[in-house]
């Protein structure tokens, strides 16, 4: 038993975090908003590709780093902190390992950062980064098929987080190239996508908390820093609490995926519930504790808050994942009882009508 990020994985994440701190500030996020200069983001993404970011989960013989999901969590947490507006989870966690496994000729350009990839479905639900992506990895029934940009019709959708490049995708069923099929392959890919998103949410939450702590120490009202008021302290303590209890769940989900544990799906859903709720709380409390400053787009906080809202709902929101967990735990949806555990119903009332004391200890 050793439950902590290994030194190597932490060092890799720290090195990339250093690069992100230098190259990817709030101005870069704004560059990806409508009317900005998204090519600046592409340039930074190619720089990160140069140090092997998209190749993280690609096996070494295929030109990758050959690492596993244990490395994914700390690395993508660093990306979350930066707010880099790129399809990081889609590429690193889902696309690159699948392209490698399928021997796709696009792998090389994905690993150099020249090709941008996203993941979604053909249909009415908007797909993030679809308006900018060169490659669309679309789920159709039990298959994942890879479409090139020209093979699908795109209808851009204005989005709350302007950097998400949302578009509705219409693609011909059975078009593109078959990349993966079957519940095992699709399930694993989806779990990695959820995991990557959880890590991004943790990073975003940490970033928002950091900005807010800084703000409430500086901002003076009634002659004192507002961070000296208990109401503010307690709100931010709750944010830290939520983040610090979500982080181990995300790390454990990554471990379970890497180790091929049978409960990996359950752990991943649990991580998504905790990470989504923590990031949403962080966004809400950060905006509140910033006062009117938090209610503007001039200050950078909204960039992270809007991303957190998007990612909390992406890859299944907390309600969806709670539902998945409920099924795993044998709790059915509409108030019906799972029959497997009914062999020994607990006695509720004795003959005298007094409650029977159940075996219990505090």
């Amino acid at each position: 038993m050793r439950f902590a990020v290994t030194g190597d994985n932490a060092a890799l994440a720290a090195a990339v975090a250093g690069l992100l701190a230098k190259e990817a500030g709030p101005e870069l996020i704004r560059a990806a908003w409508p009317g900005g200069a998204p090519e600046r983001v592409d340039a930074v993404w190619r720089l990160l590709a140069g140090v092997g970011v998209p190749a993280l989960l690609v096996p070494e013989p295929a030109g990758g780093l050959g690492l596993d999901e244990n490395a994914l969590t700390p690395l993508l947490t660093a990306f979350g902190r930066s707010g880099l507006p790129a399809p990081v989870a889609e590429t690193v966690a889902v696309g690159a390992p699948l392209l490698a496994a399928a021997g796709s000729p696009w792998l090389g350009r994905l690993l150099t950062g020249e090709a941008l990839l996203t993941v979604g479905r053909s249909g009415p639900a908007p797909v993030p980064f679809a308006a900018r992506a060169d490659l669309l990895l679309l789920r159709q029934g039990g298959q994942l098929r890879l479409y090139e940009r020209g093979e699908a019709a795109l209808e851009p959708v204005p989005s709350v987080d302007g950097s998400r490049a949302l578009a509705r995708v219409t693609a011909r069923p059975g078009g593109g190239v078959l990349l993966a099929e079957g519940p095992a392959a699709l399930g694993a890919a989806r779990q990695r996508g959820v995991l990557g998103t959880c890590a991004l949410l943790l990073g975003l939450g940490e970033r928002m908390l950091e900005l807010t702590v800084h703000h409430v120490k500086e901002r003076q009202q009634f002659g004192v820093p507002v961070g000296s008021f208990q109401a503010v302290k307690h709100a931010l303590a709750d944010v830290l609490l939520a983040l610090r209890f979500a982080a181990p769940a995300v790390l454990a989900a990554g471990w379970a995926q890497a180790a091929g544990e049978p409960d990996a799906a359950l752990r991943t859903s649990m991580a998504k519930v905790l990470a989504s709720d923590a990031a949403r709380l962080a966004a809400r409390s950060a905006i509140q504790c910033h006062g009117a400053t938090g209610c503007t787009t001039e200050y950078e906080l909204h960039l992270y808050a809007k991303r957190a809202w998007a990612l909390a709902a992406d890859w299944g929101g907390p309600a969806h994942h709670r539902q998945l967990i409920a099924r795993e735990l044998g709790l059915t949806e509409a108030g019906k009882v799972c029959l497997t555990r009914r062999q020994q119903p607990t006695p509720r009332w004795s003959a005298t009508g007094r409650a029977v004391r159940w075996r219990w200890s505090p």
Binding site: M1, F3, A237, L241, L331
Partner: protein
């Protein structure tokens, strides 16, 4: 990174499980917070001790089995899984003992610890006073050195003392320097509750059990050898224990994992199923798992020499509020039956004290904000 248990740890788990399955009393003992229940629990503590399970993490010379923190977590999981009785020796073995191991003289350790492990002596915590709850440093009970008797004369009142009416001994903080302010000039004393001048009056907790007591001290003579950690050192000695009280040694994940399992059973067997409470059941289950994972990370940190410090406040906030939500959901599932006395309604009334004891959650949030986030003191 490895979230699996070693063969040795699995063997430890098997040994604990088979012993507990064979020995945990059934039907359950009456509440340990009543006089007759306490006596039954003492018998259980002695049974645990004879088999070497009462204080697994202590050194063998004091009655333990030198278990690692990992093994301790395993034991706790198995203990709750088996439905083991509440630990009436808890405040001694989990709160005083860590301070004794760190600050006690060899003589004190040899004299006190083996009897504590064997539940021959049971210890109550004498910190709170009528005017000193969350504001522990405002303690007014005093100790004055008596040259003639080579000891200290203790005066004052302690209150909300858990199981004080049934325990044999008290560990507590007393002001030894009347001129010193706040957390200076306090001293940590150890004393028997049958000493001349001690009056104990039990009173009921929220659930009606006589689990609390006032302890009145009227010129109680305590020998100098029963000062723990040095005169005037009471605050640092006590703070070393609050880490244990707020953190994982008082409330291990096993307790909440088991409670979440019971909640799942309740939801599955409720006449109408979980119904609209399904998400809340799931959420409590998730949070119990999250507490375990958080703890595994913490124990890794401790095992690798990274101190946890103020993080124990995060533990305390999390488990105490999880416990309430979990019980509230159970009571919802029970519907009209929740009004009848039962384990969930009793558990709920106890859970409500979680955000109060061991330092209120308001104080814990201040600690988190000031020490972990660096916000200014207000």
């Amino acid at each position: 990174m490895d979230l699996t248990w070693s063969p040795a740890e699995q063997e430890f788990r098997r040994e604990a499980r088979s012993w507990l399955e064979a020995n945990v009393p059934s039907p359950a003992l009456p509440s340990g917070d009543t006089r007759e229940g306490f006596a039954a629990h003492l018998e259980w503590e002695r049974t645990l001790h004879r088999a070497g399970w009462s204080v697994v993490s202590w050194p063998r010379e004091f009655g333990g089995r030198d278990a690692t923190l990992w093994q301790w977590l395993i034991f706790e999981e198995e203990y709750y899984r088996a439905g083991g009785p509440q630990r009436v020796s808890q405040n001694g073995i989990f709160l005083l003992a860590p301070a004794l191991f760190r600050f006690g003289t060899p003589e004190q350790q040899a004299r006190i610890l083996p009897r504590m492990a064997a539940a021959e002596d049971t210890w109550a915590q004498g910190w709170s006073e009528p005017g000193a709850g969350s504001d522990l440093a405002s303690i007014r009970s005093s100790a004055i050195y008596d040259e003639q008797s080579h000891g200290w004369r203790l005066n004052g009142q302690k209150t909300w003392t858990t199981r004080g009416a049934f325990c044999t001994h008290l560990f507590g903080l007393f002001r030894t320097d009347p001129l010193a302010k706040r957390h200076h000039g306090l001293t940590y004393f150890l004393l028997p509750l049958d000493a001349p001048g001690v009056t104990v009056r039990g009173f009921p907790r929220l659930d009606g059990d006589e689990g609390f007591a006032d302890v009145f001290l009227d010129d109680v003579l305590v020998p100098a050898s029963d000062v723990l950690g040095g005169v005037g050192q009471g605050w640092p000695v006590a703070m070393a224990t609050t880490g244990s009280e707020r953190g994982l040694t008082l409330r291990s994940p096993g307790r909440y994992l088991h409670a979440a399992t019971r909640l799942l059973e309740l939801a599955r067997t409720a006449p109408d199923g979980p119904g609209p409470y399904r998400d809340r059941v799931v959420q409590s289950w998730i949070e119990a798992q999250a507490y375990q994972l958080f703890t595994l990370g913490q124990v890794t940190d401790i095992a690798e020499g990274r101190p946890t410090g103020a993080e124990s406040s995060l533990n305390k906030l999390f488990w105490s509020e999880l416990d309430i939500r979990l019980h509230e959901t159970a009571l919802e599932l029970l519907g009209p039956e929740a009004e009848a006395e039962g384990p969930w309604s009793k558990g709920y009334q106890f859970a409500l004290s979680g955000p109060v004891y061991a330092g209120t959650n308001e104080i814990q949030r201040n600690i988190v904000a000031e020490r972990l986030l660096g916000l200014p003191k207000g």
